[in-house]
Amino acid sequence: MTLQIYTSSDTVFANSFESDLQRYLRGLGGLLVFLFVWWLGAVTTQPSYLVPKPLDSARAFVDLFVTSTTIAVPILGTRLLLPTGLAHLAQTLFHYVPGLLLGAGCGVSLGLAMGWNSEFDDWLQPLVRALRPIPPLAWVVFAIVWFGIHHTGAAFIVFVGAFWINFYGAYGGVNGVSSDLTDAASTLGVECDRSMLKLVALPSAAPQLLTGFRTSIGRCWMIVVGAELFGAPGVGYEIINASNNLAMATSVAYMFLISLAFLCMDVGFRVVERRVLAWR
C-alpha cells in the first residue's frame, strides 16, 4: 500500500512540476503585458503626472529604502530612525496590529459566546443585524471625536473591521459543531460548558476561525489605508501626501509597499494555518 502511495505521488510530483512551470511562465507573460500597457498609457497621456511611468515608480520604490525618516513610537515615546518606506509601514502597523488583534479577540469571543449560548444569541441577534452592515469607515467620525486622528482613532476603525469578520468566523464555526462530537465528549467525562468549548467547540471551529482571521488580515489593510486618508500617519497617508505634491510615482511606490506587506502577512498566515489544520 505504501509503495503505491509513493509511485502515485511521484507521478503527481512530475506532473505538478511541469504544470507549475507552465503556470509561472504564463503569469510572467501576463505581468509583462500589463507593464507594457501601463508604459504605453504613461507615455501617451499628458500631463505626465496622470499616469507615472513604471520605471519612475520603481525608482520611487527604491528611494523609499534609500532615504530615511525619524518616526515617534507610540506608548514608548522614543523616536526611531528607519528607511522612509519602513518607517511609514511601521507607523501603519502601530495602529493596524493592535486594531486587528483586539478586534479579532473581541469578535471571536462574542462569536463563540453567541454561537454557543442560544439565549445569549436571542438577546443580541437583532443588535448584531443592525450594526453589522455599517461599513467600518463610517465609524471614522466617532474615531475622530472620541480618539482624535492618530494611531488610536485609526486602530479603532481597524478594530471595527476585524471585529465583524472574526465574529462571523467564530459564530458560524461554533454553530456548526456536530452534536455527535459533543455527545461523544460528554460520554467521556466532559461536564461543564467551559471544557466543552475548549476541548470540542474551539478545535472543531478552528478552520472557520482561521479563515475568518485570514480574511480580516486583507480587509483590515483596505480599512487602514482608508483611515489614514483622513490623516492618521502611515503608508495610506503618504499616498495622499505624495499626490498632493504631484509625486504620483511615490504614491504608486507606497501602493506596492502595501501590496507587499499584505502578501507577506497572508503567506505567513497560510503557513501557520496549514500547520494548525494538518488534521484536515
Partner: protein
C-alpha cells in the same frame, strides 16, 4: 469459558440496567412508548428493529444523552440523569475528534480530571494493541478506513473502563468482511472485560451473531415487541441450523407486525 456459552447464565443474574416505562416523543412521532427493558450484568443485549423504531433513542436515554418525557432509566439502581463514565458509547458515524490522532482520541477520556489511571500512556498502548491499531498511533481519522475508525471509537469508549458499553449501529457503515472481523474482535474484548453491552442494530444476522438476548422493537409505535434469548454456543456460524432458525424467528416477529399494517394501508 471465554467465548463459549452465555456468560449471563454463569453468573448470578443481577440487574445492571433497568429501563422503566420510558416514553419520549419528538414533535409528531412517538419514539418510545412505555418501554421497559432490563439488562443483566455482563450480558450482551442486542436491540433490533427497523429504522425509526426508537432503538437509538432508547440507547441514548441509557447513555443520559436524552431526557425522557416520562419513566426512568436505572443503572445499578441509580437513576440516570446525565452521561457518565460508567457508560461508554460507540457511535454509528464514529464521532471521532478529527483534530486528534488515534492516540489523542483514545486518550480523550483519560485526560479528564475524573480519570485516575496510574499510567495513561501505557493504557493507551494497551488499547491500541487490543483493537489492532499498532502503527497507526499518530494517524488522523481522515487517514483511516471505516473499520479502523470504529476500532478507535471502541478503544476510546473502553479507555475509561466503563461498566456498560452502549453501541449504536457501530458497524452499519463498515463493509461486510470487516464487519465479520469486528464481530469476532468485539466478542473477544467483551469476554476479556466482562462488560455489559447494549448493541443497537437493524441487522438480524448481526444480532444473532452477537447477542445473549435480543430485544425486538416494533416499527413506528416505539414499543418492545418481544425478547428472545439466543442460546447458541460461541463462536456462532451463520450457516448452522439453529442460527438460521433464530434469524427466522426474529424475522417472523418483526414481519408479523409490519405485514398487517401494510395491508391495512
Amino acid at each position: 469459558m471465554a467465548l463459549s456459552g452465555s456468560r449471563s447464565t454463569d453468573q448470578a443474574s443481577s440487574e445492571k440496567i433497568s429501563v422503566r416505562n420510558l416514553s419520549r416523543a419528538y414533535e409528531s412521532t412517538q419514539a418510545l412508548d412505555d418501554v421497559s427493558v432490563s439488562v443483566t450484568e455482563g450480558e450482551f443485549c442486542c436491540v433490533v428493529g427497523p429504522s425509526g423504531c426508537g432503538k437509538t433513542t432508547l440507547l441514548r436515554a441509557i447513555a443520559g444523552l436524552e431526557t425522557p418525557d416520562s419513566g426512568s432509566v436505572l443503572v445499578d439502581g441509580n437513576p440516570v440523569t446525565d452521561p457518565g463514565l460508567n457508560r461508554g458509547m460507540v457511535f454509528q458515524e464514529y464521532a471521532l475528534f478529527p483534530w486528534r490522532t488515534v492516540r489523542g482520541n483514545i486518550r480523550f477520556g483519560l485526560d479528564r480530571p475524573a480519570c485516575n489511571c496510574p499510567d495513561c500512556e501505557a493504557r493507551v498502548r494497551e488499547l491500541i494493541d487490543l483493537v489492532g491499531l499498532k502503527g497507526f498511533e499518530n494517524a488522523y481519522p481522515k487517514e483511516l478506513s471505516g473499520g479502523m475508525k470504529q476500532r478507535v471509537g471502541i478503544a476510546r469508549a473502553l479507555a475509561v473502563d466503563p461498566e456498560i458499553l452502549l453501541m449504536d449501529e457501530p458497524f452499519a457503515s463498515v463493509d461486510a468482511r470487516t464487519r465479520d472481523h469486528l464481530h469476532g474482535e468485539l466478542l473477544d474484548i467483551w469476554s476479556q472485560t466482562e462488560q455489559t453491552v447494549v448493541f443497537v442494530t437493524h441487522d438480524i444476522d448481526e444480532a444473532v451473531t452477537l447477542a445473549d438476548r435480543v430485544v425486538i422493537m416494533e416499527a413506528d409505535s416505539g414499543t418492545v415487541q418481544s425478547t428472545i434469548t439466543v442460546d447458541i454456543d460461541r463462536p456462532r456460524h451463520r450457516t448452522a441450523q439453529e442460527f438460521i432458525e433464530y434469524v427466522a424467528r426474529i424475522r417472523d416477529e418483526l414481519g408479523s407486525l409490519t405485514v398487517p399494517t401494510e395491508y391495512s394501508q
